[in-house]
Symmetry: C2
């Protein structure tokens, strides 16, 4: 209801997620099931997509350069949609390669100019080892989809993209050159360049202080924290640097408007 | 020759390695091939063994407590030799378990009181995820065999134990409670308690400043750096905090003695 009301008032909602494993059209389906329609796929930004925008529009990596990806197929596909050739362990194995510790360096593709690391549920030692071979070459750019240490799964937590990034970061002694998830500016750069937003008339709405609210504030955008389960009101009642406004729920906007 | 000469003079050589994947008797064979015999297995300390000593003699983990290991069989075996029951992913799978992201929490053993993490060439996402389940329980002690970021392999480097440790450390938001490799004191504690050495009459010999020499110095033992390829003389010619003595090679001691 609230999103519909905002759309009717001419506002353009953009949905921002750190997930890099899902395809963006799955979000459209989910939003439709919640009664939110009229959302174009360009209004869905997950960290796989923001990574692809970042590599293409901010880094301006030439299309004839290849990208090595440690991550899921969804991430590879977003990069391919921009015209890049993706090389990685899964691809090599699919083409019949038998990669071992002894021959791993022979699978390093000299045309790779960028390494992208995200969450990979099928990560193995040899995958990490292959990615390391690229990161040992300082001239290759190192991009992380996001650095969330874990993600909630059922009643527990499982290792997040950040934990995979951290492995190859520690092994190579390098920090990522860009991080394309909230709260880092790689993601905001991607959104701004793609949607040509005016920061003064944009607001970041979310339920987490350390990602959503920080994401807005460090990038110069007003923020609205919704207290729908993650953060308690006590965390912001006396003011919080990253929070411009807070409300019990997004629906309060709708109630105020009628 | 030099080691033999030292043995004849009543000195007890102890060989110290950060490798946690090899069995200690493989080192005996290697030393014999170099003409060094009369070495008892207790004089070989790798980080798998020092981890086992640490858990048993320093942490004093009761024998009825189980240990979850993310690492190779060599590491598990050293812990078993002290009487501990090891539970881990490989063991579960060998016993027919079908572990998935959905059922992973059902494989957490409530009798585990210690997590040991070392190098595992067969690491996978689910292995990391299972180890995380234990580390999320703050009452479980977290021990690392060593934190070397990489290890030399042929003409390249591959991810070391430290990179695996870093993954689960980042995911859990915890630092290891003890690190049992050079230059950390977990390994020295293990050696001192096991061999009852007198620090005043012990010297640490090695070829690396950041592991061997630091290991001696931070633990209050004189050091001898041998310039056999890793460090240049220029690094120590004007003095170095961690280096008491330096020589071109260990064999210089033999030449001086005859």
């Amino acid at each position: 209801m609230t999103v519909k009301m905002l759309q009717h008032k001419g506002k353009k909602p953009i949905f921002v997620s750190n997930n890099s494993t899902k395809a963006r059209n799955e979000y459209i389906t989910k939003l439709e099931s919640l009664g939110i329609d009229g959302i174009d796929i360009s209004q869905i930004i997950n960290s796989a997509y923001s990574t692809a925008i970042y590599v293409h529009d901010v880094l301006k990596l030439p299309i004839n350069k290849k990208i090595h990806v440690l991550g899921k197929e969804g991430l590879c596909n977003e990069l391919r949609l921009f015209g890049y050739e993706v090389v990685n362990y899964d691809q090599l194995v699919k083409n019949g390669a038998e990669i071992t510790m002894d021959n791993i360096t022979t699978f390093v593709d000299p045309d790779v100019a960028c390494v992208v690391v995200g969450l990979d549920f099928d990560v193995t030692y040899l995958k990490l080892g292959l990615t390391l071979q690229y990161l040992l070459r300082k001239e290759i750019t190192f991009v992380a989809t996001n650095i969330d240490s874990t993600f909630p799964y059922g009643k527990t937590k499982l290792p997040g993209a950040g934990s995979i990034v951290e492995t190859v970061s520690f092994a190579s002694g390098r920090q990522p050159d860009a991080i394309c998830g909230k709260p880092y500016n790689g993601m905001m750069d991607s959104i701004l360049v793609h949607h040509q937003l005016n920061k003064g008339t944009t607001i970041m709405v979310g339920d987490r202080l350390n990602t959503d609210m920080k994401f807005g504030n460090v990038n110069g955008i007003d923020t609205l924290l919704v207290l729908t389960g993650i953060e308690p009101e006590s965390a912001v009642a006396n003011g919080h640097d990253d929070v411009t406004y807070y409300a019990d729920k997004l629906g309060d906007l709708y109630e105020l408007s009628v």
